[in-house]
């Protein structure tokens, strides 16, 4: 577990802003970089600036960034002895991580076993529950037969509850119950439906979270039994399950409560022997945290944690992979100030249709507390083949208000032509009363967009 893996050349198995982000971290650690790229990305900044650049396939991601065999062979022919997968693509593919290690190459990420364990949502939840990470309160198994037992269980869980069929799915075979007097009837009805629809009358029950927020905990674990949590992020502003804007720390949640959850995440990491960076995602409502899933990779929104804790998560990932112990103590990690990230996408801010093409103007923001993570330069071509994320504007302030204020100025400074971007959407969101107050739920943005459509 504590073997030292010296490596001098890192292959970056990704593209876009994150490839450049990883390249910077490698440079700072004195490591050479290999950029593997598709034909479409031959003029991309991280490719032009890499120590070694190798085109591994055509534009199709399946034949380039998702081609595990090609990437491992590319590491061999370029002499790279470590692979950083970034996010997306192969980053949470346990088979890839395993193949990399079998080829004698260091995988900058968790063990294949951890990736596999967390990839299965049921085993992930069971593992977390066993480690004391809070999950959605519920029956933890089939509902009892006796009416009195069901009533007692439901009041212990707390109303509203959702009664679900074990064999159900896809939104069928479930019923929300708002109070105790509706419960028995609802259970009987759902049981009947479950029997008819799925041939299985088994039901279970969970607390129904109506307006949850998406809160996540960043963890960092070395191979010397140290597991740390680096604070929480609020990623509630989402559209179709895609995060749009994130902030740290989550507004309005008591730091003691976050610390308690953070400590349970770190303990879970120790229990499963987790390695590297990871994120525990939770739904949060009325003071209750409920574990959803763990992401066993670097997150898009990692910079807001870096900005509030001062810890370079990507450098830490690489050093952990080298077998170095984390030179950090939990007691010394504090979230200072506030950071907000806007994901800038090449898309129509109203229809959300992708807007690929040549970026003829790219005037970037700057000044105190502003960070821009991007691979775009004036003249870059935004490819139609991949994700539309072109930049992340991150603002840090002593207070949330200061961060918002800096972000507004930065977004006004970021001038992009002639592709369309979602900058106008972010500008409108930063002035939305709900956002300004803080603590909106995961449905807020969708509702906001519906209203915008109607007006």
């Amino acid at each position: 577990m504590s073997a030292v893996h010296p490596f001098g050349r890192v292959l970056i198995a990704n593209r876009g802003e994150i490839a450049l982000r990883i390249q910077r971290a490698c440079r700072q650690l004195g490591l050479e970089t290999v950029a593997v790229y598709s034909e479409a990305d031959s003029q991309s900044r991280h490719v032009l600036e890499a120590d070694v650049a190798l085109c591994i396939g055509p534009a199709s991601a399946a034949r380039s960034y998702l081609d595990a065999d090609a990437i491992i062979l590319a590491a061999k022919v370029t002499g790279a002895t470590a692979i950083h997968p970034g996010y997306g693509f192969l980053s949470e593919n346990a088979d890839f991580a395993e193949a990399v290690e079998k080829a004698g190459i260091t995988f900058i990420g968790p063990t294949p076993e951890s990736i596999r364990l967390m990839g299965d949502k049921i085993t992930a939840k069971q593992t977390m529950q066993a480690s004391g990470v809070p999950c959605v309160p519920g029956s933890d198994g089939p509902l009892p037969e006796k009416e009195q037992d069901i009533l007692e269980l439901a009041s212990a869980v707390g109303f509203p509850v959702i009664v679900k069929a074990s064999g159900g799915g896809g939104g069928r075979g479930m019923r929300v119950v708002w109070s105790a007097d509706e419960l028995i009837k609802a259970v009987a009805l759902t049981r009947k439906e479950a029997q008819q629809a799925f041939g299985n009358p088994t039901l279970y029950l969970e607390r129904f979270m109506q307006k949850p927020r998406h809160i996540e905990i960043q963890v960092l674990c070395d191979t010397h039994s140290k597991a740390l949590w680096l604070g929480a992020r609020d990623c509630s502003l989402q559209r179709r399950h895609q995060k749009v804007l994130e902030e740290a720390p989550p507004p309005g949640i008591p730091p003691e409560l976050i610390a308690e959850i953070g400590a349970s995440c770190a303990q879970a990491c120790r229990n499963i022997g987790y390695r590297g960076a990871g994120t525990f995602e939770f739904l949060y409502e009325d003071g209750i945290f409920a574990f959803i899933e763990m992401n066993t990779r670097l997150q898009v929104e990692h910079p807001i944690t870096e900005e509030t804790t001062g810890i370079d998560i990507v450098c830490a990932q690489i050093e952990i992979a080298q077998g170095k112990p984390l030179d950090l103590e939990q007691s010394a990690i504090h979230a200072t100030g506030h950071a907000i990230e806007c994901r800038i996408n090449a898309e129509d801010p109203f229809s959300f249709a992708p807007s690929p093409g040549r970026v003829s103007r790219w005037d970037v923001p700057g000044g105190a507390g502003i960070r821009l993570d991007t691979h775009i330069v004036a003249g870059s071509v935004v490819q139609p083949y991949y994700d539309s994320l072109i930049a992340k504007v991150i603002a840090r302030g002593a207070t949330r208000d200061e961060a918002i204020c800096r972000l507004k100025v930065a977004l006004a400074e970021l001038q992009v032509e002639t592709i369309l971007t979602n900058i106008p959407l972010h500008q409108a969101l930063l002035s939305d009363p709900g956002f300004v107050e803080g603590g909106v739920d995961i449905h807020h943005l969708e509702h906001w967009l519906e209203k915008r459509e109607q007006s």
């Binding site: 034909e39 650049a53 085109c55 591994i56 062979l73 022919v77 093409g357 083949y385």
Partner: protein
Amino acid sequence: MNMPLSVPNFETLPNSEEVVQISQWLKDAGLSSLELSNAHGTRLRISVGDYDPPATPSAALASPAAQTHPEKALSTDIPVKAPYFGNVLLCNPVTKKEFAPEGSSVRAEDTVAMLQIGELTVPITAPQNGTVAQFTAKEGDLIGYGQTVLTLQPA
């Protein structure tokens, strides 16, 4: 280039590569946009903007290489491109003989060079009959996918 065989099935939305292909067809046809809708109320609209505008439309659209190297479009020589990445082998590793010396005649599908990728070797074959005109890669060079290894003068 790929010629339009049929419009993609519109039961599901086309993926990004298909959208690129459709926009290429639109460009070829001199159209600026296309709109499709189906019975489920799904609507697809593709507009062709100024994305990578070709300088000389007919020649530039013929091959992606021509867009970045317009001077090559004028030459009649045909590039022989690497089907994968790896180190170039111009000589047969067993017989040590050159696969296709400059000036030699080759037929379509003949191996003109090989790529060494670790323990694997992948042949690079001639796309058509011709005479080897010029090598653009040296023995042992690490080359990427799609990179030109040599040019052929068509027979």
